[in-house]
């Protein structure tokens, strides 16, 4: 870990073995005036068009969602990152993340928005030929047409490539005839354009097709009854000899799975952005309620039990957000670098995003689980009113849950996190072996207790985070060594490793965010952020220790186990710290501001 190397942004997955310089990351406190204005437009759009209509949206009032999408289109919100030549605004990835975040508090509308601008638009934008793009993208970017994406089938969810949908060329060679059944299709009820995945004949891999809603042979089932996001249109789509012109084949034959996977990488980090936006909104509601609701003669925000919850909600959200924008910036920079090296812009975008697929998966899991925590405690803070369908927590609670399921379940994403990391190591893209051996060597040696202890503002947390990396390298190294090819089947171990990686990435992102922020604003202006960081990293150490122990206990034994457990404790050791006081400080700020304010 060479400090001079760390100035340059690290590659995807390298956070495990390298250090990152705080100044190299992007933090949300750096939004420029134009970006803040765009964010305000999103907030005003929700306040004016969505929040007052949430009940009508959830009742799926005829035509309402399509109309709201058009309203968003009128404001330009559906074309943020679409190139200007296709009727969009050509904004960078971070700005589109910001829009996703701000609209993330829009419940079912957010789902429709994300599906339309993500999986509904991007496959055509990224893989379409010029004619396809000219035909579809301007109308999708303006909201005149609405997009949907048909991948999942009744028998093919997480295992998407196993779908039964088939396409065959018509006798005159002018059409593909698609047959099959797709389910959980978001926006199906009002979409004009579907990106449909099916295998041509007996191909091994999926192909993708652009299917317009009026084509012969396409039909919709009725709306699904769902636990949450009730206003989001979710239907089955049936294809019965659906005649798709041959020119509507997207990209090349058998390229569909690649498209699906690449689009998902983007979808995952975007989902992180959206859920963090929802979290902030729910926290603000909870704070306002706690400030208003009085029991025993005082607002409940005066009580420690409630303050704890408010602080924890904010701490997790702030941490998750740090990771989201760090990775967004990395993706953007990687893309820019590839473009500079001569790559076509869209290819560069896909490649740049794919480089940070590990981070995207981590973010998807962490942000969606943060929202679930936030809404759960939101209900609790509201008490009896939390359980009432007349108060906003009811909808927030139900709508949150899907986020751990779609865009790849959190279990799939956890496995992917470890799987991608190990694959990159095996391909030689990521040097895990060297650092892992070094850690193994350190285990055998006498711990270095001496040395000059740095006492900078962040030295403790930096030391802890360096320890987290060692802990993961040790446990993962041992797992690979012990379980070898069996590791893929030991899903519990994979979950443990993923949890450790998630905690590491988020802790480090948070620490870097606060370090950069202090550099800009000074320590005095960042007291609560420092407390947020200290609490989160302290707690992350405990969680990493627990996951590591579980993993080690499952496959190691005897002296080796004892030695590794000792190492694990050493690598996750933290100094005693009064988390209660730190959380009180965080809560006090939230309560004074009467809203989420970090």
């Amino acid at each position: 870990m060479n400090a001079t190397e760390s100035v340059k942004a690290i590659k995807g997955g390298e956070f495990l073995i390298r250090e990152t310089a705080a100044e190299s990351i992007f933090i949300p406190e750096e939004w420029n005036e134009e970006q803040l204005m765009i964010a305000e437009t999103c907030t005003n759009f929700l306040a004016q068009h969505i929040t007052p209509n949430l009940n009508r949206i959830d009742e799926q009032e005829e035509g309402l969602m399509a109309h709201l999408m058009e309203e968003a289109g009128n404001l330009g919100l559906l074309g943020i990152s679409v190139p200007e030549e296709y009727g969009g605004f050509g904004k960078d990835f971070k700005t589109s993340m910001l829009v996703t975040e701000k609209l993330g508090a829009g419940h079912s509308f957010s789902v429709a928005f994300s599906a339309h601008t993500g999986i509904g638009t991007l496959p055509i934008l990224y893989y379409g030929n010029d004619a396809q793009k000219q035909k579809y993208i301007p109308k999708l970017a303006s909201g005149e047409w609405k997009g949907a994406y048909c991948l999942t089938e009744p028998g093919a969810g997480s295992d998407a490539n196993s779908g039964k949908a088939r396409a065959r060329l018509s006798e005159d060679g002018k059409h593909y005839l698609i047959n099959g059944q797709k389910m959980w299709i978001t926006n199906a009820g009002f979409a004009d354009v579907f990106t449909v995945f099916a295998k041509i004949d007996n191909d091994e891999n999926l192909s993708a097709f652009i299917v317009e809603k009026d084509l012969e042979g396409l039909s919709l089932n009725t709306e699904e009854h769902k636990m949450g996001i009730k206003g989001s249109s979710t239907r089955q789509v049936f294809f019965n000899d659906c005649k798709v012109p041959v020119e509507n084949l997207l990209s090349e034959r058998q390229n569909g799975f690649k498209i699906a996977v690449n689009i998902l990488n983007l979808g995952r980090i975007k989902l992180g952005g959206g859920t963090i936006g929802a979290s902030k909104d729910v926290i603000s509601l909870a704070i306002k309620y706690a400030n208003e609701r009085e029991q025993f003669g005082r607002p409940i925000s005066k009580y420690g039990a409630i303050r704890y919850k408010l602080a924890q909600q904010a701490i997790r959200t702030y941490a998750s957000e740090a990771a989201i924008y760090r990775a967004s910036q990395n993706m953007e920079e990687a893309t820019d670098m590839l473009v500079e090296s001569g790559m076509d812009e869209i290819k560069a975008k896909l490649k740049g995003t794919e480089q940070y697929a590990i981070e995207a998966a981590i973010i998807k899991v962490h942000a969606s689980e943060t929202l679930d925590y936030v809404v759960d405690e939101g209900v609790q803070i509201y008490g009896g009113m939390g359980f009432s369908a007349e108060a906003p927590m009811d909808r927030a609670y139900r709508d949150s849950r899907i986020n751990r399921i779609f865009e790849g379940t959190n279990e799939i994403n956890r496995m992917l996190t470890v799987d991608m990391m190990l694959k990159r190591a095996m391909k030689g893209e990521l040097d895990l072996m060297g650092p892992a051996q070094k850690v193994a060597g350190e285990l055998m040696s006498i711990p270095d207790f001496g040395g000059a202890e740095e006492d900078g503002l962040f030295s403790k947390e930096k030391k802890y985070i360096a320890g987290f990396k060692k802990a993961i390298l040790m446990v993962a190294g041992a797992a690979v060594q012990k379980l070898m090819t069996q590791l893929g089947k030991e899903q519990e171990v994979l979950m443990n490793l993923a949890d450790m990686l998630i905690e590491l990435y988020v802790s480090e992102s948070l620490q870097l965010r606060v370090e950069k922020l202090v550099g800009i604003k000074g320590e005095d202006a960042c007291k609560e952020q420092l407390d947020i960081m200290r609490v989160y990293v302290y707690e992350a150490a405990e969680r990493i220790l627990k996951s590591g122990k579980e993993a080690l206990n499952s496959f190691a034994e005897g002296d080796e186990l004892r030695m590794m457990l000792m190492g694990l404790r050493r690598f996750t050791k933290t100094e005693d710290f009064n988390t209660t006081q730190a959380r009180r400080n965080v809560a006090a700020k939230l309560i004074a501001e009467n809203k989420y304010c970090f």
């Binding site: 007052p52 309620y289 208003e292 609701r293 009085e294 009113m385």
Partner: protein, 325 residues
């Protein structure tokens, strides 16, 4: 040196709030060892003008030009300035109402005078000329120090109790030469809302919010208002949903009112709404949610569904009126 006060009339009748302004002027006059002079514009009867003496005016300057029966702010300003010159006045007062707000700033600019818009207090002259006024739509008060020799004040109506006394003002005519351009604004059409109490002047106001569920339930608000002789008002979401006309919206971005009694039915009491009504002397809040923040700003509270409580309150008022005839 007298303190000058503009007195408005509607078709010759002087409304009560003007008495408050005259009384305010005469108090300042006493404070500064001088007298109060009222300025009346247009067609007003001698008796009506003389009666201003009951509120402390020594003298009335009457500029009888009938064109002044309607607001022509430039002419009004010119008349006030002419009166001020005649009287050597250094303090000039109007009401902080629609007309006063169109006239006083012109007078202030012409005389290079500092202006306090919406005065709530008498000037504190211990160190300067300090007057209290509302800022942030009632979320706070400010003390404005007027630095110039001449001071212009617009008085917030309903700030002081009016005490009618004895006395008769002497009426003196004053001629002012107006230009054509002083009457540049032509009134084409006037639509007075008849039968209803105007919100800005109302002493009693009944107001409804989202808790009223829909415009079809506004009869309940109107019934109570009618029984009380009150004006009706509403919260912003109600006006935004077009349940009620926009001019009824009170709050930080709607009208600011200061009635003696404000009855809020089904209004939760967002900070923006409170800003527009917290100058009310007495606030009654009816809301089924005991956590509604409005209860914290209220004098009297009724925890219950506005739709059920309002008819009961209307009935109780009816009963009270019958027994107090």
């Amino acid at each position: 040196m007298s303190v000058l006060v503009l007195v408005e009339h509607t078709e010759g009748i002087i409304k009560k709030k003007n008495f408050e302004a005259v009384q305010y002027a005469s108090q300042i006059a006493k404070q500064t060892g001088t007298t109060a002079t009222a300025v009346v514009l247009g067609s007003a009867s001698a008796a009506e003008m003389e009666s201003l003496g009951e509120y402390g005016a020594e003298k009335v300057l009457h500029i009888a030009d009938p064109r002044l029966d309607e607001l022509h702010a430039r002419a009004y300003a010119k008349a006030l300035i002419a009166a001020a010159e005649k009287e050597g006045s250094t303090v000039i007062i109007t009401l902080n109402d629609i007309n006063g707000r169109a006239v006083a700033p012109r007078v202030a600019v012409k005389l290079k005078a500092g202006l306090v818009a919406g005065a709530l207090s008498y000037p504190d002259t211990a160190e300067g000329f300090l007057i209290k006024k509302t800022v942030f739509s009632g979320k706070a008060f400010a003390f404005v120090n007027v630095l110039s020799d001449v001071k212009v004040i617009t008085l917030m109506p309903n700030s002081f109790q009016i005490n009618k006394g004895e006395g008769k003002a002497t009426v003196e005519k004053l001629d002012v030469n107006f230009d054509e351009k002083d009457f540049g604004i032509k009134v084409k059409q006037v639509n007075k809302v008849t039968g209803e109490v105007s919100l800005a002047d109302a002493e009693l106001v009944v107001s409804g919010g989202r808790g009223m569920k829909g415009p079809e339930n506004w009869g309940l608000i109107e019934d109570l208002a009618k029984e009380l002789g009150a004006a009706t008002a509403c919260s912003r979401p109600v006006a935004d949903s077009h349940w009620r006309p926009h001019h009824e919206h009170v709050g930080q971005t709607g009208g600011t009112i200061r009635p003696n009694l404000y009855i809020a039915a089904g209004i939760s009491g967002a900070i923006q709404h409170l800003a527009g009504v917290n100058g009310s002397k007495i606030i009654v809040v009816i809301n089924k949610d005991p956590e509604a923040p409005f209860f914290k700003a209220a004098n009297y509270g009724v925890i219950g569904d506005a739709m059920e409580v309002l008819p009961k309150l209307t009935a109780a008022v009816k009963k009270y009126k019958a027994s107090h005839k």
